[in-house]
């Protein structure tokens, strides 16, 4: 159970031993993003760009044309929001081989509050043609994605989180872009989540089972590309589908699932996440509770939805 940011920093440092083309560009946040792990091992390939994220993105694009594999180190908000036009023009449109290491993604950012919580990043990046968008659920998946993204030729957005995440996968895990993971079977409801939220959904499924509700859990770590047919198959005969994410309910995982289901398999979909509102500085437990993301709150919401429309369970 480790913070994904730490796994990312260590994996890059390890890859740097054999791949001299890996560079890390930092926006003066290396001790927070854990790019400092790479910096200590490969100081000559760690480029401090200062507190100037827009320039940093452009420099990375230039370095990519020289055959380097630049990884950006900053907070997700500063890369997806402040430097959005730069990501768009010089990274995404030319399909530059730039990797966006988006630290402090989601809601749990160490009491930093609304400025630092990126709860729109998946929506923004997903709408960007040519961008691969990944949100690892645990350290195993994070390491695999970091390795894959470094090998892959093209822009990748990797959503990293600050705090420790329970382990979901064993060491045999291999990342495949688009692939979804059915981590638990269930017939009444399918919980679909991404990032470390998946472990809270698994806990919710256990709570639901105790009250006679059979809940499946589908982990979607590859927001784009995504295997839509595998999601449709996983929904199967479940009459209720619930998306759960540390993100706005608009345009992220919930938006993705809504798009897939309305096209392929209409189902009642409940989207849990931030209800078109901003975050705030508060302890993790407070934030998860307030936005309905704890295991207990997810289980309560599922029960409520099933009670409100009992016929749905028989559909």
């Amino acid at each position: 159970m480790r913070p994904l940011r730490e796994t990312w920093g260590e994996t890059l440092a390890e890859l740097g031993e054999t791949n001299p083309d890996i560079l890390v560009l930092d926006g003066d946040l290396a001790t927070s993003t854990k790019a400092d792990i790479f910096a200590r091992r490969h100081p000559e390939r760690f480029l401090e760009m200062g507190i100037a994220e827009q320039n940093m993105v452009g420099v990375a694009a230039g370095l990519a044309t020289m055959g380097y594999i630049p990884w950006l180190s900053s907070f997700a908000v500063f890369l997806t929001h402040r430097a959005l036009d730069q990501v768009r023009l010089v990274v995404a449109q030319p399909h530059a081989n730039v990797k966006i290491g988006a630290g402090y993604g989601g809601l749990l950012t160490g009491l930093t509050g609304k400025t630092h919580q990126d709860v729109q990043d998946l929506a923004i990046m997903r709408a960007m043609p040519g961008m691969t968008v990944l949100a690892p659920g645990d350290e195993i998946e994070c390491a695999a994605m970091t390795r894959w993204a470094t090998e892959f030729d093209g822009p990748v957005y990797l959503r990293l989180t600050r705090d420790p995440a329970p382990v979901l996968f064993d060491v045999a895990y291999r990342f495949e872009p688009g692939r979804v993971h059915q981590l638990r079977d269930g017939s009444d409801v399918l919980l679909i989540s991404t990032g470390p939220q998946t472990s809270r959904c698994l806990a919710a499924a256990v709570l639901l089972e105790a009250t006679g509700v059979s809940a499946g859990v589908l982990h979607v770590p590859s927001i784009k590309p995504v295997d839509a047919h595998a999601i449709v198959a996983a929904v199967g005969r479940s009459s209720l589908v619930v998306s759960v994410e540390e993100h706005s309910v608009i345009g992220g995982l919930g938006g993705l699932i809504a798009e897939i289901l309305t096209t392929h398999l209409p189902r009642h979909l409940v989207r849990i996440g931030l209800e078109d509102c901003w975050g705030e500085s508060a302890p993790n437990d407070f934030l998860l509770e307030k936005h309905g993301l704890t295991a207990a709150r997810v289980a309560d919401r599922v029960r409520l939805e099933l009670q409100d429309t009992p016929t749905r369970r028989k559909a």
Binding site: L23, L47, M49, G50, A52, Q54, N55, M56, V57, G58, V59, A60, A61, G62, L63, A64, T65, M66, G67, Y68, P70, D85, Q86, R88, L89, V90, Q93, P94, H95
Partner: protein, 297 residues
Amino acid sequence: MTSEGVTSPHAELEARARLGRWLVMSTVAGSGAGHVGGPLSAMDLLVALYFRVLDVRVEEPAWADRDRFILSKGHSAIGLYAVMAQRGYFPIAELATFDKGDSRLQGHPDMTRLPGLDASTGSLGQGLAVGVGIALGARLRGRDFRTYVMLGDGECQEGMVWESVQVAARYRLGNLIAIVDHNGLQQYGWPLGDEPDARGDRSEPFPGDTLRGIFDGFGWRVLEVDGHDFEAIISACADAGEAAAGSRPTVILARTIKGRGLSFTEGRHAWHARVPTADELEAARLELGIDASGQPE
């Protein structure tokens, strides 16, 4: 020929610039869209770069050791295309596809479509950062080429430019040369009085005139030239290009006239992005000394 009857040392470049200006006017007229003022002000700089300064191979546009050029003021794309076509990157006839669907010649440069472009630009302020990345990459790879980035003086209002300027100085990128097409005019002109419609072409004094001091303060070497004097442009580029790795980056502040080359466009902000009428196009042809077949006389 000059008025004294002596052949100018840059007669070839002057003819290419005249043809380039004609290609800008005729292409914009043909496409019904595009920019005029900026491409005309930058034309002499672009001709000097592509015919005297840049070490490039037209037949091998991706040659690893080529000098790089980024047109950060991407809305002057048609000026760049008019020069690249003359240099042989693509047929002059292809200019007719400018701004049309499926064209390699986009309204703003797209490196994924046209070989020879070292960056995609069009959102102002971004080209210098890419140039910093290329120059830094050249240093790390031990390659000895130069990276040139052309900015507009109006573009220097973008805050991001100064992020790049600081980082270039910190990394002592002597292999990076910025050229500012300093024409003093922008799309909407400048207020001349209190009346809302009293806007016009006053280009002095303008806050951009402090660019020398700002670049100098950030640790850059500053050269100032007349951006319509081929001899001055070429020698400034040679001077800048000689800076060894490990030294300061250089900026060439090139004083230019927006819409340069035509009596009715020079110094007129209204020509920033105007499409010439048939009469104006014919007047341009005669002023530029282009024959009916589109060649310089």
